[in-house]
Symmetry: C2
Subunit: 511 residues, 2 copies
């Protein structure tokens, strides 16, 4: 029964690729169904629904697994690429070549993992996330450390299965940032860390943060967020926004992209930032090419590129003086009493206040990447086995003291703050910093391409900027790898320099 | 990879049935995932998400189809039942026997339909539903009639595939009301129709309907509905309520049952009725046995039984004088201005006003089943091929005039009012009337079992009633067929008499 008809995604692609496309598209659809289940779990699901949801997700995962491991898929790949070396037939166009090579890359990873290991891994991370949650609630890292040790053993095994040429960490990085290597990251992150240390040592912005008086009605915060999302170009006919404990973006398809947000009654910036951040992710997903849905050409390039799209909106624009010229009247109109005595300049100081703290997600843009540098270096040691989980907390706390001057007071705001490690996501954190570095490069390229961008921002007129992002980043999917995409979009190569210059310019170091 | 672990559902069941159970449980999980997709489509999905949703549903349907048609499933059934005659191994317990026979019944239907026909059918009903929607919007049946003719041809073919011993209509009925036959239905419906005619001819309640002044705030209607749902025993930890254009109940699992409702700003009864109706369906689903989830023993018995659970709450209780004694103070408290001059007796007259009209879903309980009688007889003729679709409208309108004294003014409120035929659901309507007949039988049995039921109703204290429903109906799943279940629950055999006596008692005929 052919209930599901694959569409005309083969336009411009040689017909011999059709069987491969017809096999991978349902896999993308299955993934999107998992996304629906996860979205509902985080938004509307009643408390007792969780066990059933796990069953539903497991059945889907099993079906997806069976299909990736099928002889059919292998046979559909084989005519187009050498399954041992990964070399694509030489006369293929760029589209054809990337379609094949990125499908192959994904397939290699799936079949590299033995089934028994995959089952064990799934049980391990489910258990570990549960224990992380409990340990965090109890503010007691020692409850979680044994699970982290198990995860580290498993993740080392996983890296062996996935394979690498230089460093096992490469195998993990490649899952989130295809093509990225430890060596390449170090070449970018070392100068970045050096520059950040200088910035953090002597930041002129170390004044008291202005305070915002009163409470902020949640419905009005919601409405303000919707105004901004619409101005950004988020299409509410092809997506929606909901509330959740942790904001996220998820994609059911190019025409159904969903974001979530959360609010603080005392800090208007929390809701605004999360709405704008997820809005940036969502524009990327809404901007992918529909004709390539469920193929690599219709899928976001990398987590680093994705994060660049959220951070360019949330931070580079969302904390820009010109943007606050534009948004401040809207904020004042929504909260006339709170903002009676808060002018634009004060608000600019509020949103750009620099004060290193223990929590990554609420860090200012000067200190944020130092949180990542600390995790990046710890992760490499964890993977090498040179530290065990129980020793990790001391190292963590010492690093926070040394690099950020922050005294970590407890586990909850220290080593237990992030879910990633409990979910087995080692090698993920660097993509946040890549996103920040890319975001500045992208914004500056846009400035060169759109001479009146400052005026546009001050008028909250983002049509040309969003269109530029779409044409240079969004629409390409995985047609290029991340570094190539950025080079094509900005004319520059990935480095820490643009970001450090941006910080230097925004937060000048005074003597 | 065994990501999905089938649980301990085999307790008390011979181990040789385990392979069968392990094959059918993921099929139930897949169905429940489809339910998540449908629920989201009707509640939160953004407008442009519809095409993607169709793709997702089609991929799931295809996977379900493949599994039902697999040799594995056939081989797992074969040791337990004669695949030709449907005779189960004689030494099996009732649980074992029903587990096998009801799985077999479902499997037979799936494999009886040729794949090519299933594909054609899916396309046909998708197209027909779309055209029905358009035709209804245009109030023009002639646009839909050609599609209905195609559906009738296809449904006759389907009946042949499914097989029957006496009447092709039996094959269709069995899809919704397992074991029910045309002959058996006629033996119940003919006396019913006769009795309804008498009731409708001379109904003492034919006075003017009281009017409710003012508008009813939707949030307050919502809150009132939640109060009632909680009193009914609906567990909000294991379910939730949302809004949708057409109210429905859907089950993701016994611990995640969702209902929807809708409100009218002028008629408080619309929201109340729909909330209570769906609440009744939901109690059934929340009351199934978790250990039998995804097997026939953990699945509702029939559509007729399901409808009895919604109608006993919505109509028998929800329009009962004792219930209105209990609920009226809540209604008054929620809408003090609207109900300043409306006493309980007036409200009772309002909710029980009898006035035959063209629309089935808003019919009073005296005329409701006549709408079904008309459809039941037309459907049999349609299936025999003795009328074509273009002639149907005249017959419809004539029947409404003759049986209900209703002049059908247009197609929208006439033959185009229901979606069922456009979805290929021929043989479905009779289950509504079975539900009504059963609902009275069930309520009267509960009255015998719970001597103070009237007091309970007047105090909105439903614990013992809901528990009684759970023990006599809900928890049994498909352990018995519908008529056996009702006989066990009530001590009586299905007939029109209890329902007609109930009407006679509630709406006495005066001369």
């Amino acid at each position: 029964m052919q209930l599901y008809h694959t569409m005309t995604a083969t336009q411009g692609i040689r017909p011999t690729l059709t069987p491969l496309i017809q096999l991978i598209k349902p896999l993308g659809v299955l993934d999107s169904i998992s996304s629906v289940l996860s979205w509902d779990e985080e938004t509307w699901m009643p408390p007792s629904g969780i066990h059933r949801r796990a069953e539903q997700s497991a059945v889907l995962a099993q079906m997806t697994h069976e299909r990736w491991h099928s002889a059919e898929l292998r046979n559909a790949l084989a005519p187009h690429i050498d399954l041992t070396t990964g070399v694509v037939n030489p006369d293929y166009t760029l589209e054809e070549s990337r379609l094949v090579s990125e499908t192959y890359r994904q397939w290699r990873k799936k079949i590299a993992i033995p089934t028994a290991f995959a089952t064990r891994w799934a049980a391990l991370v489910t258990e570990a996330q549960h224990c992380w949650q409990t340990a965090r609630d109890h503010n007691d890292y020692t409850q979680f450390a044994p699970h982290l040790d198990q995860i580290l053993v498993a993740v080392r095994e996983k890296a062996q299965y996935l394979g690498y040429s230089q460093h096992p960490y490469d195998a993990l990085l490649d899952c989130f940032e295809p093509g990225m290597t430890t060596q390449r990251l170090k070449s970018v992150f070392e100068p970045l860390k050096h520059g950040l240390r200088q910035q953090l040592a002597q930041c002129s912005f170390r004044e008291d943060r202005p305070t915002l008086p009163g409470l902020f009605d949640e419905d009005k915060q919601w409405d303000l967020g919707v105004i901004i999302l619409k101005k950004m170009g988020f299409d509410f006919n092809r997506g929606r926004q909901d509330r959740s404990a942790h904001p996220f973006t998820t994609t059911f398809g190019v025409d159904d992209v969903r974001i979530t947000t959360r609010f603080s009654p005392t800090d208007i910036l929390e809701g605004l930032s999360s709405t704008i951040h997820e809005g940036g992710h969502a524009l990327y997903e809404q901007g992918l090419k529909a004709q390539w849905a469920d193929t690599p050409l219709g899928t976001a390039c990398s987590l680093g590129i994705h994060e660049s799209q959220s951070r360019v909106w949330e931070v580079v624009i969302g904390r820009h003086a010109a943007f606050w010229e534009g948004i401040h009247p809207h904020v004042q109109a929504a909260f006339p009493e709170n903002f009676a005595n808060i002018d634009t300049k004060t608000m600019y100081r509020y949103v750009n206040h620099v004060a290193p703290g223990p929590i990554r997600v609420s860090a200012d843009e000067v200190s944020y990447n130092m949180h990542i540098m600390i995790r990046f270096e710890l992760e490499q040691q964890m993977l090498q086995g040179s530290i065990d989980a129980m020793a990790l907390r001391d190292l963590w706390n010492a690093q926070y003291q040394q690099e950020l001057g922050v005294h970590v007071r407890d586990d909850r705001t220290g080593i237990l703050q992030d879910v990633h490690w409990s979910a087995g996501l080692i090698g993920y954190f660097p993509t946040y910093t890549l996103g920040n570095l890319y975001s500045v490069m992208v914004f500056e390229a846009a400035q060169r391409a759109i001479p009146n961008l400052m005026d546009c921002m001050a008028n909250l007129e983002f049509t040309s900027f969003t269109q530029w992002l779409n044409e240079t980043i969004h629409c390409h999917g995985q047609l290029y790898d991340a570094e190539t995409l950025i080079h094509r979009a900005t004319g520059e190569r990935l480095s820490a320099t643009p970001f450090l210059d941006y910080l230097q310019n925004k937060y000048p170091i005074t003597d």
